[in-house]
């Protein structure tokens, strides 16, 4: 049915056969590692820069402003200028800090977001590793970044940082539950944890449409909980600009600060990509049941465009949250999780299990 979607595995297969003709299998694997790594590094940097720009533009339009418009047309290379500035800035050593952990923390944070990118299916056949436990892997890796944040807060010998880090710890650990449960609901629908499998299972409609109201509820819960997990407003307590100046990265400067900054935006990208993949069909075009003609037309739009479009829609919604709501207090944040989101998502899972048992979903 999805025959005329371009499959990127043909391209990667061609590259593989071409490389195999040039060198021995060991070197082929090595070269492919390096190539994939380079592509990811490039994509990571470009995406990060673009997301910072997008955030600034989105918030500007919401606030009746123009946003960056000086560097380049519509300020499009503003973030590159910012990056150069950050690269040139002095790395300030903090007295009485733990230098090893202090320097290690930004790398932990950035590596975690980097690792999670590997398992996301960007287009048909375009996925670095297709784990059979893909959802589980992404969740595990992305929640590791709390270690980096805690280290950053503890090692920088600043009270603001420490408070921010402890808040972040409490927050990420508790919201992990809701994220897991809301993803679990779709796993129950799809019957697989493999991300490519989940995408394939949405060939006749996205889960948010197929799964009735429970899927919508779990999508909303996922959005809220993942916003909290990536420390973005209204859950940006770890940074809490007006309370803790900059929270856990108060003491960081220059490129180390840029790492935190970049990781924050990439985490936003990752959770949006997961949301798009699991709930909105990932790279799968909009298919409705067995309307063959409609589905054929939709297939002409390349799968990568579908993926990026959906991901950026979710990113926009997350930004919309941030620029509208006041920040929660730490106890209210935990109340929201333990008294509202968790019971609802547990109830939701039972409902979904029931629906699946009765075969009521499409």
């Amino acid at each position: 049915m999805t025959s005329n979607i371009y499959d990127f595995s043909t391209l990667t297969g061609q590259i593989h056969t071409w490389l195999s003709g040039l060198m021995s299998p060991g070197w082929v694997t090595f070269t492919e590692f390096v190539l994939v790594g380079l592509v990811f590094l490039l994509a990571y940097a470009l995406l990060g820069l673009f997301l910072v720009y997008a955030e600034r533009k989105v918030c500007a339009f919401m606030q009746n402003r123009v946003g960056p418009n000086r560097v380049g047309k519509w300020g499009i290379i503003q973030t590159i200028a910012d990056l150069i500035k950050l690269l040139l800035k002095e790395l300030i050593p903090i007295r009485k800090s733990d230098p090893f952990l202090f320097n290690l923390a930004p790398f932990i944070v950035i590596i975690c977001s980097f690792l999670a990118m590997a398992a996301i299916p960007y287009a048909k056949g375009l996925q670095a590793i297709d784990f059979n436990i893909g959802v589980f892997y992404v969740m595990a890796v992305s929640s590791l970044s709390v270690v980096g944040i805690l280290l950053a807060g503890w090692s920088s010998n600043s009270k603001y940082s420490l408070i921010g880090a402890m808040r972040s710890g409490a927050q990420i650990v508790s919201y992990e539950l809701s994220v897991g449960l809301s993803l679990l609901s779709i796993i129950v629908f799809a019957g697989t944890m493999q991300l490519s499998g989940i995408v394939e299972s949405q060939a006749n409609g996205w889960w948010i449409f197929k799964g009735h109201i429970p899927a919508v509820i779990s999508f909303i819960i996922f959005l809220i909980a993942s916003t909290a997990e990536i420390n973005r407003g209204p859950f940006d307590l770890a940074e809490a600009e007006s309370e803790l100046t900059a929270g856990f990265h108060t003491e960081y400067s220059g490129i180390k600060f840029a790492f935190f900054f970049l990781a924050e935006y990439m985490n936003m990208f990752i959770v949006s990509a997961i949301a798009a993949t699991v709930f909105l069909g990932g790279w799968m075009p909009l298919h409705i049941g067995n309307w063959e003609g409609f589905n054929q037309i939709m297939d002409y739009i390349p799968s990568i465009i579908w993926f990026i479009g959906k991901t950026f829609f979710v990113i926009w919604v997350i930004m919309w949250f941030k620029w509208t709501f006041p920040r929660l207090r730490i106890d209210q944040l935990l109340t929201l999780e333990w008294k509202y989101l968790l019971p609802i998502s547990l109830f939701n899972i039972i409902l979904i299990a029931f629906i699946v048992l009765m075969g009521w979903h499409f």
């Binding site: 989105v58 919401m62 009746n64 402003r65 418009n69 509208t324 509202y340």
Partner: protein
């Protein structure tokens, strides 16, 4: 059962208030006409300050390079910050009497708070506010200005 109903109604009420807020920001996101930012250096040509704008203190000169300042020193006396200094000179006039004229009307823009007392109290309306507001310079000394133009004279009222 009652508590569950209360729980759910609270939940929905909360969500609806959140949606009300999001509607506002969403509305502005999709209405680029509401942008209020002024593109400052670009709109310099069309940017016109109001005629009462207190940009700096100036001494208007007419086309004959004449001003109205008699050098009485009232503005200097009234200035709360000492940002006006007047150096007067005595020169003989046509009838041979010594007459007071200003040599230099020194104005320290860096000290001025734009209270308007000098302009208000000037008995001969020699001072006024200029609309220029781009005062940034690299050297502080450039903010000390001599208001009377070189070679200017006191305007003689036609009697």
């Amino acid at each position: 059962m009652n508590s569950i109903a209360k729980y759910l109604s609270e939940l929905f009420k909360g969500v609806s208030t959140l949606w009300a807020g999001m509607r506002i920001t969403g509305k502005y996101f999709f209405s680029p006409g509401a942008i209020v930012t002024q593109q400052y250096p670009e709109n310099r040509k069309t940017l016109k300050m109001t005629d009462r704008f207190k940009g700096e203190v100036i001494m208007p000169h007419d086309e004959n390079n004449q001003h109205a300042c008699t050098g009485c020193g009232i503005c200097e006396m009234n200035c709360p910050n000492g940002s006006i200094e007047i150096i007067t000179d005595r020169v003989p006039n046509a009838e041979g009497k010594m007459e007071r004229v200003i040599d230099k009307h020194i104005y320290h823009l860096s000290m001025c708070t734009f209270c308007g007392l000098c302009v208000k109290t000037c008995p001969s309306d020699a001072l006024a506010f200029g609309q220029k507001f781009e005062h940034a310079v690299f050297d502080r000394n450039k903010l000390t200005k001599v208001l009377n133009q070189p070679g200017s004279k006191l305007r003689k009222e036609a009697k």
